[in-house]
Structures are given as C-alpha cells and as structure tokens.
C-alpha cells in the first residue's frame, strides 16, 4: 500500500509497509514486509498504546560501470503505527529482521487470576 504521507529531511517518500498480524502461543506477532532496510535506521517503539515501526531502505550500491535501463524500485522510508489494545508484557517485546521481514513478537500479559469473592452469610 503506497501513500505519500510526508517527506523527511532526506526527501524520501514514506510508505506504509504491508503487514500480517496473527496470534500464536499467547503472543501477538506482526510480520512487516520491509526489504533492503538499513538496520541502523530500524526503530521499533512502544509509546503508551501505540507501536511505531520505522525504517529506511538502504541505498543500492551499484558500481559506476552500470547505468540504469529500468527502474521500479525506489528508496523509501517505512512507517507504520498500530494501536495495541490487548494487555502485553512490555518487557518481553522481541524484534527480528530476516530476509526483508521484521517480525515483532508481543507477549500477552498473564491474565489476572479471577479473584474469588466469598459471600458472608
């Protein structure tokens, strides 16, 4: 999904990367499609209830002997925000970047044991 939000200082177009969100083993997992990202610009932040994922694509290193005859890929910045409504364990957030996919694993917080209320008669 391509939406031209705004341009940052580098004058890059920011696009919203495609994402799959699913539940597995009491975790909420987000798989974000972001190929060729510069890992130093990868940023995953949980601010109150908003999960913000940001990254910037690497600049292709093409040696000078080449000239471009067809271009479809472009250097972009990625940004996506999610509202997390479920209670999650904020200390156990994991993020892994592999093969162009960022996988963020949010562990659901332990459900509080229902308190048993004794009725005085």
């Amino acid at each position: 999904m391509l939406e031209k939000f705004k341009k940052n200082q580098e004058d890059l177009m920011i696009i919203r990367p495609c994402v799959n969100i699913y539940e597995q083993n009491n975790n909420i997992i987000l798989a974000v499609e972001m190929p060729n990202v510069d890992k130093q610009t990868l940023d995953v932040n949980l601010d109150n209830n908003q999960l913000i994922i940001r990254a910037i694509k690497k600049k292709d290193e093409i040696s000078k002997e080449y000239h471009s005859i067809h271009q479809e890929r472009s250097r972009v910045g990625y940004e996506r925000r999610f509202e997390i409504n479920t209670e999650i364990d904020r200390d156990k957030i994991e993020a892994e970047y592999k093969n162009g996919i960022l996988t963020v694993t949010l562990a659901k917080a332990e459900a509080e044991q229902p308190k048993k209320i004794t009725i005085k008669s």
Binding site: I21, I62, N99
Partner: protein
Amino acid sequence: MALVPYKRDNWWVDPFSELENLQKQMNQLFDFSLSRNPFNDTTLLGGQWAPAIDVYDSKDNLLIKADLPGLSKDEIEVSIQDNNLLLKGEKKKDKEINEENYFKTERFYGSFFRTIPLPSAVDSANVDAKYEDGVLTLTLPKKEESKPKQITIDVK
C-alpha cells in the same frame, strides 16, 4: 456556452491542438496495454503479484535487482530461456497459523512469476545470484558477441 474549457494562456484557440491532445491520450491508453517498454510487460495472468525490479546495464554485465521479501532461496527459481529471464516462485502460507488466528493479512501469498526480456545475450552458466535482506541480486555476464563493439569511422 463553451464546449472547450477556457484556457487563459492560449493566445489563440487552436482546435487542432485539442484533437492532438486527445489523440496523444488515446495512444497512451493503448500503449499501456501493448507495452512499448518491454520491461512493463508484467502480465497479471502470470501470478497474483510480481516483484518490482531494477535493471542495470554495463559493458560486460547486466545487473538485475528484485524486491522479494520473506522468502528463502529455495522458494525462488531463476532460469534463462531464449534470452528471457524467468523469475518464479511461491510464497507459502505458514501452516502453523490457522485462518482464525489472523488479525490482519496484507502480504501477498501464492505463486509469483515475471518474465524479463534481456537486452543482450548472456552467459547463463556464469550468472551470479545473491539473496540478501529480501532483495535478489543477479549479475549476468554478457556473451562476447553481445558486448558493444567500437566501430572506427574512416574519414577519407
């Protein structure tokens, strides 16, 4: 009553320029489907989606980069046939996850297929392929006879 939108900067109204414009637009419409640019020939019949590619040319090699995130190198198939590069593969759905466990699915799954016509003949035995961070990089060395040859002009 104006049938033609009033353009302030036309010092004279040239009815033929309007028709010419229309002709140009119709041409563009047909061009889109008949694709003059050979690289734009991504037929949707090939698969549900096709990767975005960049093609570079040098004296000795062709360089192709394709965005294919979330695959392993066993899921990508690269072959050369009749001077066309065939990129195909299949993104398989994760079997461990049931349909009802998904909150959101935006990523594409299924087979992808793209034919890239190569502007020069390449030595298919010596193609270098790398898959890193979701990007497939192919370096195809050109065959000797396809390399550009300098033609000396005799001036008499």
